[in-house]
């Protein structure tokens, strides 16, 4: 069969457009550029961090179409038409998300380098589970490593964030 190059969507330098924190953006990049690099280097959204580069730490976690995703394993072409939320998108107009408030109050961070990814993972958890128990919290954060806190402060932050959100609802 003849390949119809048009429909098959061939791309060498790709112009990807996607929604980033609610705004439509367009980037010209290699289709196999890592999304973490596109965000940090092309779009100067450095809240998303890079630490292991192989999906083993969660520092680069973002939401893609509402789903938690590690951006170091995601390629630029996979963003086409997607809706992306990064840590920068959580605190619109200076107001923080309850998850962020909770991290502040409960000491859910120290060096802060895992924090953006961690906050995104917690956000993803609480969006689908309003009263996460131990099992749910551990499961949801299993892919996010923190070297500073020993997770104590993070767990307290999740519990506090859940309480905050439930109080608002």
């Amino acid at each position: 069969m003849e390949v119809n190059h048009q429909t098959a969507g061939r791309a060498e330098v790709l112009s990807v457009s996607f929604h980033l924190n609610g705004e439509l953006v367009q980037v010209n990049t290699s289709p196999v550029a890592r999304v973490v690099d596109v965000l940090r280097d092309e779009l100067d959204q450095t809240g998303t961090k890079l630490s292991c580069g192989i999906g083993r730490c969660g520092a680069c976690s973002i939401l893609v179409n509402g789903k938690l995703t590690v951006s170091c394993l995601l390629l630029a072409y996979q963003l086409d038409g997607a809706s992306v939320t990064t840590i920068e998108g959580l605190s619109g107009q200076g107001e923080m998300d309850p998850v962020q408030e909770a991290f502040l109050e409960e000491g859910g961070f120290q060096c802060g380098y895992c924090t953006p990814g961690m906050v995104m993972a917690v956000k993803s958890l609480l969006d689908s589970n309003h009263e996460p128990d131990q099992h749910a919290i551990q499961g949801a954060l299993a892919g996010n490593l923190c070297r500073c806190t020993g997770y104590g402060g993070i767990i307290r932050s999740v519990q506090c964030a859940a309480a905050k959100r439930n109080a608002v609802r």
């Binding site: 292991c52 192989i54 120290q110 020993g150």
Partner: protein
């Protein structure tokens, strides 16, 4: 008041904070470092010709391009910046490239042609100490020897009722800070250099870089905070020299941010040690003889190897009072990477061995582990471990009694064991010195300024690596001055504007901030009040929120006080308190911890899970509860990893573990869901040394407590970290715990 939010918190949780690896500058290039693939080899030739032809390559530097000293090292600069003749580990740098993109730089590194002649690899301390071994350094393969002796050890052993001898092996631990080394080095128009790279001691970096670059220190500015973690790992130089050489060569900003693999390969690690201890007790269970031999694998270069060995030697008898002590340590050069500073500084290694001895002795003489400790622990007035006078506290017994009570409670609570599981409870205690120790330059200092804009600026040369020094500074300064946090501006981490405070290491930050404020507050407040009373004509003034108060009434804002007048400055310089007794490297301020853990051992797999981790810590008054708890919990979990998971595995001096998929730090599921920390804040009345730092103490005594819990559960005495499930499973099978401990019909295996 004690649960203050951190001043750097909002920026961190919103992702707004720019770490130094987040920075970019116009015209910026990307740097990469070519490192040796061989752990030990002679360099025959280096050809950069091909790489230079690659479009987009802007500069390549080798040893020929170093204007100053081709060497670095905090104490002894024996590590080449760029190797010329010999490479001594697989992280040794031979060239560096600056290019238009990371990909081009990466490709250029592949195109650099270095011819090596492999040399015999010294992949163990035994090999390195063999008389036939080649010398890694001109003076041979011994970096440092240290020792301590008191009493007549042979005579003491002859009087013992029981003697335990054991060799303990502890692994090479990775700091695993989440932010790998990196930043941007910017050549300024006026010929100076600004280095935006994290470190624990900006002024030391400046000193070292000036020496390498042949530049005056005053032409170099180090911006060094914030950092995404350090734990001792970023105290030594890492990528700074390469970025600086490339920036100078190209006249353009150069960014280097190491990948995790690059970091793994080049970074320093915790010293692996083999510690042999022989310890004896008398009839009553008193420790009377304690002999220790420490062999530390210090890797290819010196960095802080000697000081770490000294620290381990000092803490060999820890908080126990033993009349005859004989300790010998040797730190040995090998081709196994580079070992250096790491939270705990040799204390973690030695404490695992020491507490292991205590447990074994207790078992040998049929004495309770608590009893033997209570009998032998130091009292308030006892001298320090090297016989030096130390700041008196009852810390050792305080933490012990608290931990002992909890231990007893946990042990007697009859827990339902799940099928194929065994539960065990364990405890350990320790003491840990703060500051660099006697005979080492350990200056500190700080500065308070009433700025023209009415802000009270407090500045230190300390660095924020996540430990919360900003919160500590804010809390202590507002408490001591009486002003509000809104009145403050805190300045750290920039050699252009901060006073020298010494390094942000050795649990000294909190302590030094407090001491600085003790010295600064009087002269500073006096000057402010003097001006205020001149301006207002009022008396009985004090500093308060927003400005000057008189008899409970607000009088004058800091802004009005500052307006149009000269800045008011108070500055202090002093040394970290040391023992009045001139004993080399001896410490004066100690912190103490008592740890209780519970583990669940899986009889089918040999895996150990820590289900409970409690630490009681005595470190003087708590400055900020959140910071304190965070340090202890986080340190505890780092130590949990050290005990059960973490080992930078090397084979033939090559790294087997290259990233976080095989080097395992604890995840959320590996730690108890609820950690517990109890501070003991009490100090003797006469103590005027204030809060001690708690950066390290939480990491020190966790390993032996876990080991003791494993013994309780399974009867296995581990002598090697990390505890391997394989070892545990073997022991389970040999002891028949597997068969005996389960339902009657136990046919499995």
């Amino acid at each position: 008041m004690k649960r203050n939010r951190r001043p750097d918190g909002k920026e961190k949780v919103t992702g707004a904070l720019k770490y130094l690896t987040d920075l970019s500058f116009p015209n910026m290039l990307y740097g990469k470092i070519a490192r040796s693939p061989f752990p030990h080899a002679r360099i025959l030739s280096i050809s950069t010709e091909k790489a230079r032809q690659l479009p987009g390559v802007q500069a390549i530097v080798t040893h020929e391009d170093i204007p100053g000293l081709n060497g670095f090292g905090i104490v002894t600069p024996d590590q080449p910046v760029l190797c010329k003749d010999i490479v001594r580990y697989v992280g040794d740098a031979v060239a560096a490239v600056a290019a238009d993109s990371i990909d081009i730089a990466k490709r250029a590194i592949e195109l650099i042609d270095v011819q090596y002649e492999p040399l015999p690899v010294l992949d163990s301390t035994e090999k390195a100490l063999d008389p036939s071994a080649p010398f890694l350094h001109p003076d041979g393969n011994v970096l440092h020897r240290a020792g301590f002796q008191k009493g007549d050890i042979e005579e003491a052993f002859s009087k013992c009722r029981a003697v335990i001898e054991e060799t303990y092996h502890v692994p090479r631990q990775l700091h695993a800070y989440m932010e790998t080394e990196g930043g941007v080095i910017v050549p300024e128009k006026n010929g100076t250099l600004t280095v935006y790279v994290g470190t624990q001691h900006g002024f030391k970096d400046r000193f070292q870089l000036a020496r390498i670059l042949g530049m005056p220190e005053s032409d170099i500015r180090i911006v060094s905070s914030p950092m995404g973690g350090s734990f001792g790992g970023k105290d030594e130089l890492n990528i700074q020299p390469y970025g600086a050489l490339l920036a100078l060569a190209t006249g353009r900003p150069v960014k280097i941010h190491q990948t995790r693999q690059e970091s793994m390969r080049s970074s320093i690690k915790r010293h692996p040690m083999a510690i042999t201890m022989k310890t004896g007790v008398d009839e009553a269970g008193k420790l009377i003889a304690h002999q220790t031999v420490i062999v530390a694998d210090t890797g290819a270069y010196s960095t802080l190897g000697p000081a770490i060995l000294d620290f381990a030697v000092e803490h060999a008898a820890g908080p126990y009072i033993i009349p005859a002590v004989h300790t010998q340590g040797i730190s040995v050069f090998t081709n196994n990477g580079v070992s250096g500073e790491f939270r705990g500084f040799g204390g973690n290694q030695i404490t695992f061995a020491l507490e292991g001895q205590i447990d074994r002795l207790a078992a040998a003489i049929g004495m309770d582990g608590l009893e033997i400790r209570r009998l032998n622990l130091r009292r308030e007035q006892d001298a320090g471990p090297l016989g030096q006078r130390i700041a008196e506290t009852n810390g050792a017994l305080d933490v012990f009694e608290s931990a002992a009570a909890l231990y007893r409670e946990k042990k007697s609570a009859s827990l339902q064991e799940r099928p194929w599981k065994k539960i065990g409870t364990g405890m350990a205690v320790t003491m840990h010195g703060g500051g660099l120790g006697f005979g080492r330059m350990d200056p500190a200092g700080g500065r308070l300024t009433l700025k023209g804009n009415g802000k009270i600026e407090i500045s230190f040369g300390f660095e924020e690596a996540g430990q919360g020094i900003l919160a500590v500074i804010e809390t202590i300064t507002t408490e001591q001055l009486g002003c509000a946090k809104e009145d403050l501006s805190i300045v750290i981490g920039d050699t252009a504007v901060v006073p020298s405070s010494g390094s942000t290491t050795a649990s000294r930050g909190t302590s030094m901030v407090w001491h600085s404020l003790q010295r600064l507050k009087k002269p500073f407040i006096a000057q402010l009040l003097k001006r205020a009373s001149l301006l207002t004509g009022k008396e009985r003034l004090s500093l308060g929120e927003g400005g000057i108060w008189s008899d409970g009434e607000f009088l004058l804002s800091y802004k009005d006080l500052a307006c149009g007048q000269a800045e008011i400055v108070a500055e202090t310089e002093f040394d970290f308190p040391v023992s009045p007794d001139p004993i080399d490297s001896a410490h004066f301020l100690y912190t103490y911890s008592g740890v209780v853990v519970q583990v669940e051992a899986d009889l089918l797999t040999g895996k150990i899970k820590v289900t409970d981790l409690h630490q009681t810590v005595s470190a003087g008054p708590m400055v900020n509860e959140m910071g304190f708890v965070g340090q202890i919990e986080g340190g505890g979990v780092m130590a949990l990893g050290y005990t059960l998971l973490e080992d930078v595995v090397m084979k033939d001096s090559q790294y087997v573990t290259e990233n976080l998929d095989t080097y395992l730090i604890p995840g959320i599921m590996d730690v108890p869901f609820q950690l517990s920390v109890e501070p003991i804040e009490a100090l003797p009345e006469q103590d005027h040394f204030g809060p001690r730092g708690v950066g390290e103490i939480g990491t020190v005594a966790v390993a032996p407590a876990i080991a003791s819990a494993i013994y309780d559960a399974l009867g296995l005495q581990v002598n090697q970290l990390p505890v391997h499930p394989e070892t545990v499973l073997k022991s389970i099978e040999e002891r028949g715990v597997f068969h005996g401990g389960q339902s009657s019909n136990s046919g499995a295996s």
